[in-house]
Symmetry: C2
Subunit: 158 residues, 2 copies
DNA sequence: CAATACAGTTAGCCTTTGCTAAGTTATTTT
DNA sequence: AAAATAACTTAGCAAAGGCTAACTGTATTG
């Protein structure tokens, strides 16, 4: 790379939108990679909790169907969840959440609900809101979550 | 599973929030899996485009630093991008976007900008807005994008 | 123009998240 | 109680996305 001639006669008002400093930039991507590590775990425990609540029990076959994934995939994921101490079960029997699993499920469910409500308050159609919420929920900070809540509340009381 | 006694004397007003039909539910997760397939490709081409625009060229070392990832990881990813016809380069030289790469970069950049502007309009602090936008951008439908744009515009003209 | 420093590549490893095919266990039906 | 069906598990494969260590090529500079 040739050394740039160090020109800047005008202070460059044109600057479209400079790149952020590279350490900050790197932090953005790191946060996303981080979210990706727990995303699927959260969706699983949330779903397992919902199934227990709404159907009385959480079975692999139901999870597979609702996630749109093979039973083998669910089996493997459940093994991981058990290893992490989030889920408990005996072979060939239905699934339960551990204490820690319940906590994670509760947090995920709440966050999911806030994002979904927000999108609806924004005027998004139901199907789209559900789809977008399923992905967005894992990338929303506490700060943004709080703002979403304020917004929905205000929008609904009018 | 024991057959439930088929009781529902009261029409159950309590129903917290029933599960969606399972095919719709599966579609939600499928959409997320889908987004995950292109997410990183989008971030790479967007970054390469930005580096070319702001620094004159896109070098692996810069990408690695900005992504917070090793050079080896960038090398492998670039090979994939070349295979997909999004990036062109000769060994040991800096990177260029193909026609298709430019298109993808433009779309990604625009979407990213809309989401970031929206979060700022919502009152989110700059650092947090940047982090959240980096993840959310890949999970936002056209419909939601349009709503975000309307909202920012309206919020800014006041 | 050598020597050194910097940039880029390659090989080999790991984890996650998906799949199919084949085997087991549990439940339901006859 | 046997047979048939449904549910679950296991084994083995692949792609994506990360890493480190070792190597190769390019640029700087004494
Ligand atoms: Mn969720
Ligand atoms: Mn989700
Ligand atoms: Mn982006
Ligand atoms: Mn991004």
């Amino acid at each position: 790379m040739i050394e740039p001639p160090d020109e800047s006669p005008s202070p460059c008002l044109c600057e479209a939108d400079a790149l952020p400093p590279s350490d900050q930039h790197a932090q953005q991507y790191a946060a996303v990679r981080n979210a990706h590590e727990t995303e699927l775990l959260e969706d699983y425990v949330e779903l397992i909790g919902d199934l227990i609540e709404h159907q009385g029990e959480a079975r692999s076959a139901d999870i597979a169907q609702r996630m749109g994934v093979s039973q083998a995939t669910v089996s493997k994921m459940v093994a991981r969840l058990k290893g992490l101490g989030l889920v408990a079960s005996k072979p060939y029997r239905s699934l339960f959440l551990t204490e820690r699993g319940e906590e994670m499920a509760a947090m995920s469910r709440q966050r999911h609900a806030i994002v979904l409500r927000f999108l609806r308050a924004l005027g998004i159609s139901d199907d789209t809101a559900r789809i977008d919420a399923e992905g967005m929920e894992h990338h929303v900070s506490e700060e943004t979550l709080a703002a979403m809540q304020r917004f929905s509340q205000q929008r609904e009381s009018s």
